[in-house]
């Protein structure tokens, strides 16, 4: 089967590849921006973080407000963060980037296996199981966050449905592919 003839698979593969590089690129830009603050502290002055310490799947809500001196409540100025909180924010971001990249890699492997006419094989069952595990780990870590800024500690908890739904769907696909593998084996053993 020619992958390019199946447009859904073709575009899914393209989208997965695009997402893979876009996520890496955006994370590197984010790191470069933070690192630039070490050499040019004034560069961070107009930057605020709307979601950096809220529960969620990795988004920090980085915004630039040139010329604005007063920022709304619950919005953090990047330049006000201490080293520890900055490290926590970067580590949390890196963790979600890593999880997402691992998931995308597995998805790409599943698409490639369909291209090779090896859809209902053990490898794909393992891929979906791993995606379910990774998404569930993502779900656990996305549900909480904390901040400790100017002596004020705050812990936040919220259920983030996206990764949980992805995990459940992947688990469902694991079972569907197990069933498919069994049917394929039955079909192949009929002469």
């Amino acid at each position: 089967m020619n992958l390019s003839r199946n447009k859904i698979l073709y575009y899914s593969d393209l989208l997965a590849t695009g997402a893979y590089y876009l996520i890496l690129f955006l994370f590197l830009v984010f790191l470069a921006f933070i690192a630039s603050g070490y050499f040019f502290p004034e560069a961070l002055a107009p930057a605020t973080l709307n979601n950096a310490f809220n529960p969620g799947y990795g988004t920090v809500g980085l915004q630039l407000h040139p010329g604005v001196k007063n920022v709304p409540e619950n919005v953090f100025r990047l330049q006000d963060l201490n080293g520890g909180m900055l490290a926590w924010m970067i580590l949390r971001q890196a963790f979600f980037v890593w999880i997402t990249i691992l998931i995308i890699k597995r998805v790409k492997k599943v698409i490639a296996s369909v291209k090779e006419l090896k859809t209902f094989y053990q490898e794909n069952i393992e891929h979906f199981k791993q995606i379910a595990k990774l998404a569930f780990i993502g779900f656990i870590f996305s549900c909480f966050n904390f901040s400790y800024i100017d002596g004020d500690f705050s812990f936040r908890l919220k259920i983030i449905w996206g990764p949980l739904i992805l995990s459940m769907l992947s688990l469902l696909l694991t079972e569907i592919f197990k069933e498919g593998k069994q049917l394929l084996e039955d079909k192949n053993s009929i002469i």
Partner: protein
């Protein structure tokens, strides 16, 4: 359980498995699986081709035997 008597029919017709394989168009491996009862099923067209090649009826190849398992 179903037992397969391809080997008996092959002996009666003085035919080799290789010849049957060539005539029916099924690999020797698959015919061996069928002969040893390891296959889960047999398609009607396969059965038909085997019957044609061996000049016999499906009942000459397949036999149902009651399972004698003590539960």
């Amino acid at each position: 359980m179903i037992t397969v008597h391809i080997d008996v029919m092959l002996a009666k017709r003085k035919m080799m498995l290789k010849e049957l394989s060539a005539e029916v168009g099924i690999s020797e491996t698959n015919l061996s699986l069928l002969k040893t009862g390891k296959a889960k099923g047999v398609r009607f067209n396969t059965l038909s081709a085997i019957c044609e090649a061996l000049d016999c009826q499906p009942g000459d190849i397949l036999e149902y035997k009651m399972d004698n398992t003590d539960d």
